[in-house]
Amino acid sequence: MKGNVFQRGKASIGFEEGPLIIGCASVAGKKEGEGPLGELFDVIEPDPMVGRETWEQAESALQKEAADLAIERAGLVRSEVRYLFAGDLLSQLIATSFGTVDLEVPVFGLYGACSTIGEALCLGAMTVEAGYADYVMAMSSSHFASAEKQFRFPLEYGNQRPFSATWTVTGCGSFILGKKGGHVRISGITPGKIVDMGLKDSMNMGACMAPAACDTICRNLKDFGREPGDYDRIITGDLGQVGRRILLDFMRNNGYSIRERHTDCGIEVFDSEAQDTHAGGSGCGCSAIVLAAYILPKLASGEWRRVLFVPTGALLSSVSFNEGQSVPGIAHGVVLEHA
């Protein structure tokens, strides 16, 4: 099959110019603010309700706040953002629908579970690179309480979480892509495919997603003809401690050692011992706020030159889970470079 020069391998794209991230914002919850990255977040919301009536409205409020801050940081006004690619974890994307209505920006609502920010960045980058928009926004959010309510139990219900369980991050990360300004470029993408190893444990999502992360990272390395050493860091979304262990094993089986350069947003965002979060953080907001607050500044300063950012998602619903289906994983690869 003959493709053009931008098509790399079976599914990757290497951009000619590569859109720049010209503004970003991270809004985090109280617990995230008390974590190891606490000082790096733009805004820490001490009130889990964010002054609203319900958890879902609170999550929407986080989105609105992050969106406006990112637009401001990029030196734009709302009307200059041509498209918005955004998503969350709630059914029918209600956090996004109600959170972005006031922006009056045409919106593509995305669901990629916790990998959503990767999907949004891929699509946003393609749109800007192709010249279909001068500025687009990519955004995703999650809220601990709204996610618990939807996927697990009511908050006050007493139960013991296994060590493999992750803690949904309360937060929202927002990114403006454009062609001028900014010091981080999206130079390529490797969209993920769904990988299902047949695992059915929704309390061990790291293990459900790790094979998908491995698949995406291996395809990225192959498609771009790179070795792990060509990246300063390979950063997955929310595999947590268990998922990281599996990813490293799987990568080794594929002939790559990434132990030294791999880290995981879910592991970075919480102090699992002190904050009792077990395997790590998770949720659409996890990789988004860590990207905005921790990864992008290091790329912008030149401390890291090239990073493979791989947000991971577990594609389950409470219905599929109760009906005995497995928990497939997905991971989208985004190559970020210092510019």
Binding site: G158, Q160, F163, L199
Partner: protein
């Protein structure tokens, strides 16, 4: 590069089980023993106080049950119950306290969705199976008991 072909779902599940840390069962049992023991001792003390003050034994037992339920519901509302369970596990759940918590927690969470579709429909989302199958089991046992009586088999 296809990772899927290298392991069957069974092999993968076994591998995942191997690399996933689990809670220490003996430690959890010790915590549950003391948490459950403390709750039961408190209830027993309550019972003694009532009977010492002239309440009939059977009525005192009912009041004690009520005391446990109300305390569990209050602690649920104050967001303390889930912390106790996180430490004490089944020790905090097995006394009637766990059942009270499983009813109170959805009531609080779904209040926002209204009195009918919120609290009304969802209050038993966790306790529902216990109520349904508990009632059903007693019904089955009742039938069996009836049959034994008819066939003149005496027991217990």
């Amino acid at each position: 590069m296809n990772v899927k072909k290298k392991m069957t779902p069974e092999e993968y599940a076994a591998y995942v089980k191997n690399v996933t840390p689990v809670h220490s069962v003996p430690l959890n049992m010790v915590k549950a023993f003391f948490t459950g023991g403390f709750i039961c001792a408190a209830a027993q003390a309550f019972l003694y106080i009532l009977t010492e003050n002239g309440v009939e034994r059977e009525a005192a037992a009912s009041w004690t049950t009520l005391f446990l339920i109300v305390t569990a519901v209050l602690l649920t509302g104050l967001n303390l119950f889930s912390k106790i369970v996180s430490f004490g596990g089944a020790g905090a759940l097995v006394p009637i306290t766990g059942f009270a918590n499983s009813v109170a927690a959805p009531a609080i969470e779904y209040k926002k969705e209204g009195q009918v579709f919120g609290i009304g429909c969802k209050i038993f989302t966790i306790a529902g199976p216990v109520i349904l199958y508990g009632t059903f089991t007693s019904w089955v046992l009742g039938i069996l008991y009836c049959l034994f009586q008819w066939t003149n088999i005496y027991w217990a």
